[in-house]
């Protein structure tokens, strides 16, 4: 397949052929491109998007509505008023007082997610740098192997993994969750893709000529160059680890829970009181929503960036 030929940009045409030609080209293109980037969306497009947005946000709003009501109100109103009842702070206090170790779970979630993210960033960048920029025998085969492992449902090895963790005495310890997630195939692949394009060989050579050892070259040249992709990878790993339930549920249990495990405890113990449960669910979700508001733009561009290359 031939590389796609892109049209000259309008400013380029204007520079080369003058203003009137550029205007004519612009008009012609608007007429031609009825789809894609030039397509002018009508109200229907926005209506569809608004419905999607409402569907995304409504369950969270519903959670807030129930979380700010009390049990009596919920039992009388199957369809809650769309205006919150204003008992959210009270319910928050009850969640904190409940027997689910909320603060410990929050702290555990922060520790586990942050350490996993840092570790994934470091080891993935290291491996990605090696795959992208260093020459060694078997490089391509190893990279293909890494990518192939993404299709293996390793979650099914949970029984022996649990045995290993209990042998090590890590059951109920945070390292039991952190260590298996230390480096991921996705991360290695991601950083390889990025560094291939973003890190010029000249920089590495310059550092080598200046007498840097291999690891110093990595640290002073590859690490800074990989920063944008590393930030996105860290964000994804953070979200993924924070929302992870199956493995922490099995290996940590109720003694040393993360937030999803604490959510399960809350549901199991207070299943009659949905105001309490929903307040707890929202408290467990809110930190990530804040992260999302602050860094959602990066998440979006991260997914799109990775998809084009992957």
């Amino acid at each position: 397949m031939k590389p796609p030929k892109t049209l000259e940009s309008i400013p380029a045409i204007e520079q080369a052929y003058g203003k009137s030609i550029a205007n004519a080209a612009r008009r012609r293109r608007q007429r031609l491109t009825t789809t894609g980037a030039g397509r002018r969306p009508g109200w229907l497009t926005y209506a569809v998007l608004a419905v999607v947005l409402a569907a995304s946000a409504f369950p969270l709003w519903y959670t807030f509505l129930l979380g700010s009501a009390d049990a009596a109100y919920i039992s009388q109103h199957a369809i809650p008023s769309m205006i919150p009842q204003g008992k959210f702070i009270t319910n928050m206090g009850r969640v904190l007082a409940a027997d689910i170790k909320f603060w410990q779970a929050l702290l555990n979630s922060v520790i586990v997610s942050a350490l996993t993210a840092v570790s994934v960033i470091f080891f993935s960048t290291l491996a990605g740098y090696s795959f992208a920029k260093l020459r060694f025998r078997g490089r391509n085969q190893l990279l293909v192997f890494v990518i192939a492992t993404m299709a293996i449902p390793t979650q099914l090895g949970i029984v022996p993994l649990f045995m290993v963790m209990s042998k090590l005495g890590w059951q109920g310890q945070l390292q039991a969750v952190i260590v298996p997630g230390m480096v991921t195939a996705f991360g290695v692949f991601w950083m390889t893709q990025y560094l291939q394009a973003a890190l010029p060989y000249e920089l590495i050579e310059a550092a080598r000529v200046d007498g840097c050892s291999m690891i110093r070259t990595f640290w002073h040249v590859a690490m800074p160059a990989s920063r944008p992709a590393a930030a996105m990878l860290g964000l994804f790993t953070f979200v993924g680890t924070w929302t992870n339930f199956f493995w922490p549920f099995i290996v940590l249990g109720s003694t040393n829970p993360t937030l999803p495990v604490a959510t399960q405890l809350l549901q199991a113990q207070y299943f009659k009181d949905y105001s309490l449960i929903m307040a707890g669910v929202l408290m467990a979700t809110a930190p990530l929503v804040f992260v999302f508001v602050a860094a959602g733009k990066q998440l979006v561009s991260g997914i799109m960036h990775g998809a084009v290359k992957g």
Binding site: M1, T6, L7, L32, T35, G36, A37, G38, R39, P41, T45, V48, L49, V52, L53, A57, P59, Y62, T63, I79, F123, L126, A127, Y129, F131, L134, R135, V146, T149, I152, P153, T154, L156, G157, I158, V159, P160, L161, F162, V164, V183, M214, I215, V239, F245, I250, P260, T263, Y274, M278, T285, L288, V289, V291, F292, G296, V300, M304, A307, V308
Partner: protein, 337 residues
């Protein structure tokens, strides 16, 4: 010339003894690449490959959570599991949830991506809105939807009642419960997959659309004859990841009620939930849990192969630039316009 010689002392000169530092430097260059990629392989071997293979070993023994390894029973565990009614219920539920959750999810993702691909205002805002559910943990999603779809006095049933539809037993009825669990999967994953598809669509060269317009293609025709074939690899990627994820689903069914048994009649108990119950909950029988893991692994393998064949078939049905496809089209004598 003199410079080249200075950087390569061994060229044209008697071999000099290499100093320790130099030798160290050479080892550094040779070994470092392997050293850098090794963490992944070590971690994968220890927490990925080894457990998966060892699962097969464990499944051959009478092995308990508390008692440890017992007698060798060969395929006894498999025989036991395959004779269990619950296993077949779990497989039925898993496949049912898989079908209901994956097909509309991928379809909707492609559709929404196509809408987003237009030249809309406030692009980032809409894209972020689509992605919002991604940061809600599956556990939280399940608690929320379990309440919204409560059998009695739930939001959805009340709304349905308002427009004259009889209440649906979202928990008691198997198919209805599979539907709700699938809705949870749609909720969390559609936006994510939408953005992946959108990225692929934006990489489609725009002059292909222009050519289609000139040839008189309608919008629908453009979508099916330009967009879909162009983003095919991405669609395959999305389908494969959705498959692997859906078949191992645990969080949503586990949290769909407070007991976590997959329903009073196991109506929404999935294979992974069954595995968990065998290993940790009721019998604490690791041997049997391991054999369920292997059976599920094989099912995933079969479906993956089937998937692959199917997507290839779809691929060769659509117009493509590859020579192989053109050849097939020729032999069929089919000319596509």
């Amino acid at each position: 010339m003199a410079k080249t010689k200075a950087t390569r002392p061994e060229a044209g000169r008697p071999v000099r003894k290499i100093g320790f530092r130099q030798r160290l430097g050479r080892w550094d260059v040779k070994l470092s690449p392997y050293l850098y990629v090794s963490p992944f392989f070590i971690v994968f071997a220890v927490v990925g490959m080894f457990p998966l293979l060892y699962t097969a070993y464990v499944s051959m023994f009478d092995w308990h959570l508390l008692g440890g390894k017992g007698e060798f029973v060969g395929l006894g565990n498999y025989e036991f599991i395959l004779g269990q009614h619950n296993f077949w219920v779990a497989m039925r539920n898993t496949l049912s949830i898989f079908v209901i959750s994956s097909v509309p999810q991928v379809t909707a993702a492609i559709g929404i991506a196509w809408v987003l691909d237009a030249n809309i205002r406030a692009k980032t805002f809409w894209r972020m809105g689509v992605l919002l559910p991604y940061v809600v943990a599956p556990v939280a999603v399940s608690v929320i939807f379990s309440r919204m779809f409560a059998d009695q006095f739930g939001l959805v049933n009340s709304v349905l009642g308002g427009i004259g539809i009889d209440p649906i037993r979202w928990h008691a009825d198997p198919l209805a419960s599979h539907f709700v669990i699938s809705v949870m999967v749609w909720y969390r994953w559609t936006g994510y997959n939408t953005l992946i598809c959108l990225a692929a669509m934006q990489a489609v060269p725009r002059d292909l659309y222009e050519a289609a317009v000139i040839d008189g293609a309608s919008k629908a025709k453009q979508f099916f004859s330009v967009t879909i074939p162009q983003i095919r690899p991405t669609i395959i990627f999305v389908i494969i990841t959705a498959t692997i994820g859906c078949l191992q689903i645990f969080d949503e069914p586990r949290m769909y009620d407070q007991f976590g048994q997959g329903g009073s009649d196991h109506q929404w108990m999935t294979a992974t939930l069954y595995l968990y119950q065998l290993g940790w909950n009721q019998e604490m029988n690791f041997g049997r849990a391991a054999s369920v893991a292997w059976l599920l692994f094989m099912v995933i393998g079969v479906i993956a192969v089937f998937n692959f064949a199917l997507t290839r078939r779809i691929a060769s049905d659509s117009p493509d630039h590859s020579a192989k496809v053109r050849k097939t089209a020729k032999t069929r004598g089919a000319v596509k316009r």
